[in-house]
């Protein structure tokens, strides 16, 4: 008999704040969280929406020791982990007697540190590089640094699959708990905003471009031209239900099902819809739920011309005639694309939607793309008594991952 996996805590560092309640409040108010990327003008890049969290102060969360060994991705993830530990009630005493695992989902990991380390060796010579920087050039450094900082001795792993990485980490962690390998896991995602990822995304034509040139990063909007690249870290404290009950933990929700899919026939010119449909259907099957039992969908849509359309068509196909019944939101309209953290922020906001019975709208959505299927796009926040949500993640190269979160199980 496999175990049930419940959520007993959350932690986040995002452009819309560091608490779930604040994130939800801002998403519902529709007051913007995206800055403007202006710093790469000298390298020939136009300014456009997105960028780093300007007021992130890791020393508020990571106290008593020097932060020098951690790079930005490590600081983001370890800070969000601190908040998740507090939220779940996994205190120092708990950690002294229980091995807690960590699973990180990240697209780029420590790419900025890797690149800077290499460039320093090229410019100053190989003997001038810092050994401390080298230790962060492994892609799993944020997960390892987080374990070291918080003394988490359980299974420590990292998974990478592009923008679906965070949801993959949740699925991976849920599998570890379900088959009894670990009772408690901090799972989530992190990606920092850096020049290397910005440059890669810009050159691949995935970014919206400057608003002065009609750039628009609003999901599902007729005017959309691409996404706004941003950053965040977010985690869920996952636990097997029996252990959570035994320690009297507050249960926020249940990981009821998950699935992912890759379409090997994917290419840059199409076939993006199939993997998304398969991931959603797989998650429903895994949760033993029918599409009719889903109350809302948190879309991965980020303003991408092709991927938003693919996702809309996939939702329409999987919900087979009932899609107009299910409320659909897309919170990247305000958070931008946070890659590894994206699916986790969507999950955290759904927990708040269940708590407050309000679903945030797709901020800024003015004209829905005519080519999209007729879905129930939620433009304004609305009252919704929700018990089950489908959370989508869509990658840039043919991968998709879906998660189903439901209300806490009844004892």
């Amino acid at each position: 008999m496999s175990k049930r996996v419940v959520i007993t805590g959350v932690g986040l560092i995002s452009g819309l704040g560091e608490s779930a309640a604040l994130l939800h409040q801002k998403l519902c108010a529709g007051t913007g969280g995206l800055g403007e990327i202006t710093e790469y003008g000298p390298q020939g890049f136009d300014s456009q929406p997105g960028g780093s969290i300007s007021n992130f102060a890791p020393e508020l969360y990571l106290k008593g020791r020097t932060l020098r060994p951690l790079d930005r991705t490590g600081r983001l993830f370890a800070s969000a982990a601190k908040l998740a530990l507090e939220s779940s009630g996994w205190t120092a005493e708990y950690l002294a007697t229980h091995d807690v695992g960590v699973v990180l989902g990240t697209m780029f990991g420590s790419m900025h540190t890797i690149s800077q380390f290499d460039r320093q060796a090229l410019v100053d010579g190989p003997s001038c590089v810092s050994p401390m920087d080298f230790s962060n050039t492994v892609i799993n450094s944020a997960a390892a640094q987080t374990a070291i900082w918080h003394k988490l001795r359980g299974i420590n792993s990292t998974t990478a699959s592009g923008a679906t990485s965070g949801l993959m980490a949740i699925g991976y962690a849920a599998d570890l708990i379900q088959c009894g390998r670990q009772n408690a896991v901090l799972a989530g995602g992190a990606d920092e905003f850096c020049f290397e990822s910005f440059c890669g995304m810009e050159r691949a034509g995935l970014l919206s471009g400057p608003s002065s040139k009609r750039g628009c990063a609003i999901p599902f909007d007729q005017r959309r031209t691409g996404m706004a690249l941003s950053e965040a870290a977010a985690l869920l404290a996952l636990e097997d239900w029996e252990s959570a009950q035994a320690r009297g933990a507050t249960v926020l929700g249940e990981i009821c099902g998950h699935a992912n899919a890759y379409n090997p026939a994917w290419n840059q010119h199409g076939r993006g819809q199939e993997a998304i449909s398969r991931a959603m259907q797989g998650a429903l099957d895994n949760a033993r739920l029918s599409a009719a039992e889903i109350d809302c969908i948190s879309a991965a849509a980020n303003g991408s011309v092709a991927d938003d359309k693919n996702e809309a068509l996939a939702i329409s196909a999987v919900f087979n005639g009932q899609a107009s019944r299910v409320s659909l939101t897309a919170i990247k309209s305000m958070l931008g694309e946070t890659l590894g953290a994206a699916g986790i922020l969507q999950s955290i906001d759904f927990l708040e939607t269940m708590r407050t019975s309000v679903l945030p709208g797709i901020a800024g959505l003015a004209q829905v793309d005519q080519e999209l299927a007729s879905l129930n796009f939620c433009r304004q926040p609305k009252f919704l008594s929700a018990r089950a949500a489908l959370i989508n993640g869509v990658g840039f190269d043919g991968h998709a991952c879906s998660l189903i979160i439901t209300a806490p199980p009844q004892a």
């Binding site: 390298q43 091995d99 780029f108 990991g109 790419m111 890797i114 690149s115 290499d118 460039r119 090229l122 010579g125 190989p126 003997s127 590089v129 810092s130 050994p131 080298f134 230790s135 962060n136 492994v138 892609i139 799993n140 450094s141 997960a143 390892a144 640094q145 374990a147 070291i148 988490l152 001795r153 359980g154 299974i155 420590n156 792993s157 990292t158 998974t159 990478a160 699959s161 592009g162 993959m168 991976y172 379900q178 088959c179 390998r181 890669g200 995304m201 050159r203 691949a204 995935l206 992912n260 899919a261 890759y262 379409n263 090997p264 026939a265 994917w266 398969r278 840039f396 190269d397 991968h399």
Partner: protein, 414 residues
């Protein structure tokens, strides 16, 4: 832990500096051949060391048949080659099975390092404008398993687990869990890394690279030799493998993963986490210390690793540690990073199949702190029913895999 079925290893694909394909590779291991040579993939002027374990005879077009080999990075090429060899070795005809039930799970340290190294070259030359969209499509490490899935049109779960120098073990462990859970019928699981300037620079800076050869557990060992390679294991549930009459090398009986939570690059001074991973792997496999016939060591050849790994093994095995042969193939093919533990899992499978243990080469002097049986310099004929594969990584991540001969792992599980 309860398990409904065991996982069988039914195909092996390896690409290394001492041989491609498990036959050639195994002959090289038994003969004690080394793959060390002067680094050629980048200029080591300015470095205090110059040796590496690069692969020279690899022709990607021999293995990458559906995709354009020139359009993908070297790590993807190596991983696809290892996958093709594993499928051939396992005699699995993909056209006769549901490819939607075949998954891929790969570990790595650096993914496609050449992609970001070219980015950095252009950056320092002030040519950022020359960087194109191929950087994004070629660099992120997840492209390695995606490329395998694309080459062979596989529609099952596709995962990258980039947990550095222990990544191969992590990927094999997760693939087994997916098979136990019934989420796939077959998994291609393992690890891959291509020779990286960045990795070489870092280990050189740490003073961890040996000037000439890698001599694990030797009193005068001077460090590791970075290398490159890939290994992919074809995995499936044992009942399925038996039913389709597949040749079974061995079974994956269990695994243990742990984190020191101590230091980024220094292992726990008493080998606490490593010992915990070994114990977990044995407990899950229902294996007692005296039943382990061979340990494939992480054995990098650095002074600290080899000492602490010896301590961890003694901690778990007690006096019996002296009777378990433990060798490191890194003495021949260097440290292939994320591929290493996958290659070493293949070594365990071959040792079980052939009843022979590969040696630790270049061993000359006994170290008072490394006093176990390291199978020095000469391969040893010996029945191996149960093998343990250790791998450790930056961040204090520890992994141990137990592989067992098929009949032996049919025992009742706890």
């Amino acid at each position: 832990m309860t398990r409904s079925a065991a996982v069988a290893v039914t195909g092996l694909g390896v690409v290394t500096s001492i041989g491609t394909g498990c036959q050639t590779f195994w002959e090289s291991l038994l003969a004690g051949r080394s793959g060390f040579s002067r680094v050629t993939s980048f200029d080591t002027i300015g470095y205090a060391v110059h040796m590496g374990a690069e692969i020279y005879d690899f022709c990607p077009q021999d293995y990458v048949l559906e995709m354009d080999p020139a359009a993908i990075g070297r790590t993807s090429q190596l991983a696809i080659a290892a996958s093709r060899l594993a499928l051939l070795d396992g005699d699995l005809d993909l056209s006769e099975i549901d490819r939607g039930r075949v998954g891929v799970c790969v570990g790595t340290t650096s993914g496609e390092p050449h992609s970001i190294e070219r980015f950095d070259d252009q950056y320092v030359q002030g040519c950022v404008s020359k960087i194109g969209g191929e950087f994004l499509h070629g660099y992120p490490c997840h492209v390695v398993p995606f490329h395998i899935a694309k080459e062979f049109s596989l529609g099952g779960e596709v995962m990258m687990i980039p947990t550095a120098c222990a990544a191969g073990n992590y990927a094999i462990a997760h693939a087994c869990d997916l098979l136990y859970a019934g989420k796939a019928d077959f998994m291609l699981a393992g690890g891959a890394d291509s020779f990286s300037r960045i990795t070489y620079t870092g280990f050189a800076r740490l003073g961890a690279i040996a000037p000439e050869v890698c001599q694990p557990f030797d009193r005068d060992r001077k460090g590791m030799i970075p290398g490159e390679g890939a290994a992919i294991l074809l995995l499936e549930r044992s009942d399925q493998a038996l039913a389709r009459g597949a040749r079974i090398y061995c079974e994956v009986a269990g695994y243990g993963l742990s984190c020191d939570a101590h230091h980024m690059t220094a292992a726990h001074p008493e080998g606490e986490g490593a010992a915990r991973a070994i114990r977990m792997a044995m407990m899950q496999s229902n294996i007692k210390p005296h039943e382990v016939d061979y340990i494939s060591a992480h054995g990098t050849g650095t002074p600290t690793n080899d000492r602490l790994e010896t301590i961890a093994v003694k901690k778990v095995f007690g006096n019996h540690a002296y009777s378990v042969p433990m060798s490191s193939v890194k003495s021949m093919l260097g440290h292939t990073m994320g591929a290493a533990s996958a290659i070493e899992a293949a070594v365990c499978a071959l040792a079980i199949t052939h009843g022979c243990i590969p040696p630790t080469m270049h061993w000359q002097h006994r170290d008072s702190e490394c006093d176990l049986d390291y199978v020095p310099n000469v391969a040893r004929k010996q029945k191996v029913r149960v093998a343990m594969n250790n791998a450790y990584a930056f961040g204090g991540n520890n992994s141990s895999l137990v592989l067992a001969a098929c009949a032996d792992s049919n025992r009742e599980r706890p």
